[in-house]
Symmetry: C2
Subunit: 243 residues, 2 copies
């Protein structure tokens, strides 16, 4: 990400970036990422080494480290991929409706669809992700890019909805919906019902509840509560917290 | 728990229970539990065997298994102890005030006080407890006794408060406060601030918020939301869920 932006800043003044290499290097990156995810699932995250991943992918260990500076960064690559797939899949799902409950439900059910192929894998490595100081945690600084991608989906959910929200919460609500999504992910990771039926049920039950709470936030009687929630979020949400 | 109630039911009709043995066996039980917690902390939960615990405690392995049928049951013993210590410590903390926010805050801060000596230990084994199907999970059937003890503390919190609550939520609110406490525990497990200052701060910030939300639940405009929350809790709270 940083490299890309640096390139974008300097490219107009210097020679064109060697873009012809990009597709090949993107292929190698994808190959390493997919090999890693398969090995994590087969052998477990803790027992899979970068050397083994490189060997299985048919690249040198040095080359693997060139793309991913640690195993943890491979998980970041996985987060980025899920976030990108979700953002793409959610677009048509949101096109049909301005009803906030429907939009929240469609967004979360789409996430479950996108994530389903990785269900076993997610349960396997989740132990390592629960610590917010771990780079694997969705709350960590390392996860900022994937988190921002997920939050921006929820910005679309709210922006395209017919529900008016409390103005003082406008900046926080997408983060709050993202937090709801993280709660769903936690539930889903350990959901062993067929086709994650219980997770789907949880979405169907809580989406209207979240939509109603958001709609209520504009009522005068709710204002002091809304202000308190805003304060707590400002202090404790990942991108607001001081290290 | 079950043994105690069975005893209480039958004791009046039969001969007195052999109470003279209880103190010694209680001592042995405590010795095994404390040894286990020390070894879990020193060596890690996964790498500590029942055999090693028995040896270190100076009892036979068979004797250790007599008191705790698995390592997981030792953790249950730990939960029960924390819950009992909390219930005892919270009593004086609640005596002074009928204000709901103060009562919630006192209850959660007292929990942090009681739990502090086990902080490192909790972080160490928490990985094993995050799975709700694990007997170590606070949401598991095996944890029902410790959970009920914790919920009953929150029943006292509400019962002694001057805040009137929505009648249809009366049975659920203690569970909801317990869920809030579990959120705090999750935060605290990974809180590395000195003296868990951030966890304390989270309590101070969220206790008035929870109290206000509970007070608001009686307003007519909130009724549909309250009904939805009640439905979701009835379906998804641990003691309501079907296996």
């Amino acid at each position: 990400m940083d490299d890309d932006s640096a390139e974008a800043d300097t490219a107009p003044a210097g020679p064109p970036a060697p873009r012809t290499r990009a597709p090949k290097s993107e292929q190698t990156r994808t190959l390493i990422l997919e090999t890693a995810m398969r090995l994590f699932e087969e052998r477990g995250f803790d027992r899979t080494t970068m050397r083994a991943i490189a060997q299985e992918a048919g690249v040198s260990t040095g080359n693997a480290y060139y793309y991913f500076s640690s195993k943890e960064h491979l998980i970041q690559g996985f987060y980025d991929r899920i976030a990108a797939e979700h953002a793409a899949a959610v677009h048509p799902a949101l096109a049909g409706t301005a009803d906030l409950a429907d939009r929240i439900q469609a967004t979360l059910l789409t996430w479950l669809d996108v994530a389903e192929p990785y269900h076993r894998f997610a349960a396997q490595f989740f132990k390592n992700a629960a610590d917010p100081d771990s780079p694997l945690s969705p709350f960590s600084a390392d996860s900022a890019a994937a988190r921002e991608a997920a939050v921006s989906v929820h910005r679309q959910v709210l922006a395209g909805s017919s529900t008016k929200t409390a103005p003082e919460l406008a900046d926080r609500l997408p983060h709050l919906l993202w937090l709801m999504q993280m709660g769903l992910v936690l539930f889903w990771v350990y959901d062993r019902s067929p086709d994650a039926a219980r997770s789907r049920r949880l979405v169907v039950r809580t989406a209207p509840l979240a939509a109603r709470a958001i709609a209520l936030s504009r009522f005068r009687v709710m204002r002091p509560l809304v202000a308190q929630i805003e304060d707590v979020l400002a202090e404790f949400l990942p991108d607001a917290r001081e290290p």
